[in-house]
Structure formats: structure tokens, C-alpha cells
């Protein structure tokens, strides 16, 4: 950083921090949510899927819609590439 900048730029980094946090946390709240059941399920699913197709952590989303008398467990796994070819390769 130039001397000029060091003296006079209001190098405010806080807006960056806020933006990064907002993006990160909206994601983490979905996938973690502090709920042990969901995070363990997520880990299990990830392990099973990753055995067959390359898949990273962020690609697995697990949500639980709590209701009565019925709750819905929603699992979403994003897989990159063509599944057919991937499947054959892994088999």
C-alpha cells in the first residue's frame, strides 16, 4: 500500500466483513442450524454419496420442516457433471 493510501484512505474493512458474514451465515444456518440430528444426517449422506460420486460438503443440504403430525425431511444434493458417466466410472 502506498504511503498516500496509508495516510488518507479510509481503509474501512468492516463493510467487507459484514458482507462476507451475511453470506456465510445464511448458508451455515441452513446446513448446521445447531441441530445435531441434521448435521449428523448431513455427514452420513455426504459419506454415502461421496463413495459413488465426487461431491463436496457444501453440496449437501438437509432441512427438516417440523410439523404435526407430519414432518418433512428434505435432502438436496448437488452433483456436478453428468451422473450417468460418473456412476459408471465409480462402479
Amino acid at each position: 500500500m502506498s504511503l498516500w493510501n496509508r495516510f488518507f484512505s479510509s481503509s474501512s474493512s468492516a463493510p467487507q466483513a459484514r458482507e462476507r458474514l451475511q453470506i456465510l451465515l445464511s448458508h451455515e444456518r441452513q446446513v448446521l442450524g445447531g441441530d445435531d440430528l441434521l448435521s449428523s444426517l448431513r455427514e452420513d449422506i455426504l459419506a454415502v454419496v461421496a463413495k459413488r460420486v465426487p461431491c463436496d460438503r457444501e453440496a449437501v443440504k438437509v432441512r427438516l420442516d417440523k410439523g404435526s403430525p407430519l414432518s418433512i425431511l428434505e435432502i438436496e444434493v448437488e452433483i456436478r457433471g453428468e451422473v450417468a458417466s460418473l456412476g459408471r466410472a465409480a462402479a
Binding site: S13, R18, L21, L24, L25, E28, R29
Partner: protein, 271 residues
């Protein structure tokens, strides 16, 4: 029946133990009976911050395991006679605490005190979840810094999932305590400000504790900062937070930058 407060954060070193001692002492100064409980098994520190380290005979684990009675383990503060400390043990066995054991101790404390304040260990493991298990109120201690805010967000999620209140379908009353707040840096825009953190975590604000050498000084003496020098800025902020816990509606003061004008700042930056 006591109100049970858990002081928690996820991230380590943000000021939980300092806060437990300071708010405990401030509440006790109002005449309320207060027990502060160190849940940081293996790494006890609350005894040091409260200046009681040489008076520890029995600890939380001894009481949980039935090797000592609660009355034998509680240490009465030397300065405030309604303030008591239940120290943690130095044992490295984290499994020494059981849910049933903690339930029993909290129930007994609850019948004898107005406030029970649990100092949580860092992390989100068993020790932290045991410390928050009985919480009516959780003080979420957060520094205005990205990793601390992220961990606090995680802790808020866990408070809503793993506490007894959560399993009963109720919610823990969560309050944000922003600590180590550096007003000069916030003014420069180099630090998340209060509004940023509040917006991100969206839990009500209990107070803002400024970054201050008075905190270290008080811990050197082994006196809770709120009673070491009650006129100091962090002491005032902690005393106000305690009053808010008692239901008073006090406006929160956002710390302003201490003196040291433009020129001195320039010089410091150039150095």
C-alpha cells in the same frame, strides 16, 4: 428459584470468564444472592479472576460425583458476602460431568440463590452444552470480529436446539454482549460496529464492554472488574448490563473513541 444464566460464545478468549465474574459481582452488590459456576473443567480460571484460587478445596466434579457436599465446595467471596463461587476441577477427564450430576447441582443451587451464572468453556462440545443445559438466559459474548460473530451465530443455533428449554418447546432468552469493543477502530471503519453485529445475529443487546486495560488490571488483582474500580469504563458497562438483567430499561451507551486526536492517530499509523 434462581434465574439461571449461561455465559457462552463458541469462540475462546472473548471474555466469558471476565463477564461471569463482573456480572456476578455486580448483581451480588445489589444484595441478590449469586452463585458463579465454572464449567470449564480441566482449565479452571474463574477462581483466579475472582481471587479465590488459594481457597479452592472441593469443586464442581467433587459435588457431581458425591465426594463433597455443595456447601463444602462453595467459596464465599471476600468482598461481597452474597457472592459465591463453585470452582471447576483441574481434572482432565471431561466425562467427569454427567447430565444427571449437573441437573442435581443446578437444582440445589437454584433453591439457594437468586442467580446462578454458568461460565461456559469455549467450543461447542459437551462441556459447553452442559453449561447451557439449564439456561433461562444466555449471554452470548461476542467480539466485533468475523470469527467470533460466526461462532456466536452457531451458539445461538445450539441454544435453540440443545437446551432443556428448547426440548420443552420454549426458547432461551438470548442477549448479545459485545466485548472488547474498540471505539477508535469502529470509528475508522476497521471493525464491525454494533449495528453490524446486531443485524447479523439479531438477538437483543445486553451491553457493550469497551476494550480496556482496566480489565487486565482487575484480573491481575483477582477482583471482578465491576467492583475493582466501579468508575472505570468497563465496570460501568458491566454494572449497567447487570441492571438490565434485573429488568431496568437503560439505554446502551456505544463507547466513543478516547482522546488522542487526528495528529496522534496519524503518527501512530505512520509508525
Amino acid at each position: 428459584m434462581a434465574k439461571i444464566i449461561t455465559v457462552t460464545s463458541g469462540k475462546g478468549g472473548v471474555g466469558k470468564t471476565t463477564t461471569t465474574a463482573a456480572i456476578g459481582a455486580a448483581l451480588a452488590r445489589t444484595g441478590d444472592r449469586v452463585a458463579v459456576v465454572d464449567f470449564d473443567v480441566g482449565l479452571r480460571n474463574l477462581d483466579l479472576v475472582m481471587g479465590a484460587e488459594r481457597r479452592v478445596v472441593f469443586d464442581l466434579v467433587n459435588v457431581v460425583q458425591g465426594d463433597a457436599r455443595l456447601s463444602q465446595a462453595l467459596i464465599k467471596d471476600k468482598r461481597v458476602d452474597t457472592l459465591f463461587l463453585l470452582p471447576a476441577s483441574q481434572t482432565r477427564d471431561k466425562d467427569a460431568l454427567t447430565e444427571e450430576g449437573v441437573d442435581k447441582v443446578i437444582a440445589e443451587l437454584s433453591s439457594q440463590f437468586d442467580w446462578v451464572i454458568c461460565d461456559s468453556p469455549a467450543g461447542i462440545e459437551r462441556g459447553a452444552t452442559l453449561a447451557m443445559r439449564h439456561a433461562d438466559i444466555a449471554i452470548v459474548v461476542t467480539n466485533p470480529e468475523v470469527s467470533s460473530v460466526r461462532d456466536s451465530d452457531r451458539i445461538v443455533g445450539i441454544l435453540d436446539a440443545k437446551t432443556l428449554k428448547a426440548t420443552r418447546g420454549e426458547t432461551v432468552d438470548k442477549r448479545l454482549l459485545l466485548t472488547r469493543y474498540d471505539a477508535a477502530r469502529a470509528a475508522r471503519g476497521d471493525m464491525l460496529n454494533t449495528a453490524d453485529v446486531l443485524e447479523i445475529l439479531s438477538i437483543p443487546l445486553l451491553g457493550i464492554i469497551p476494550e480496556s486495560p482496566d480489565v487486565l488490571k482487575a484480573s491481575n488483582f483477582g477482583v471482578p472488574v465491576s467492583i475493582n474500580d466501579p468508575a472505570s469504563a468497563p465496570a460501568k458497562a458491566y454494572i449497567d448490563a447487570a441492571r438490565r438483567l434485573k429488568g431496568e430499561e437503560l439505554p446502551v451507551q456505544v463507547p466513543t473513541a478516547p482522546r488522542g486526536g487526528f495528529l496522534s492517530k496519524l503518527l501512530r499509523r505512520a509508525a
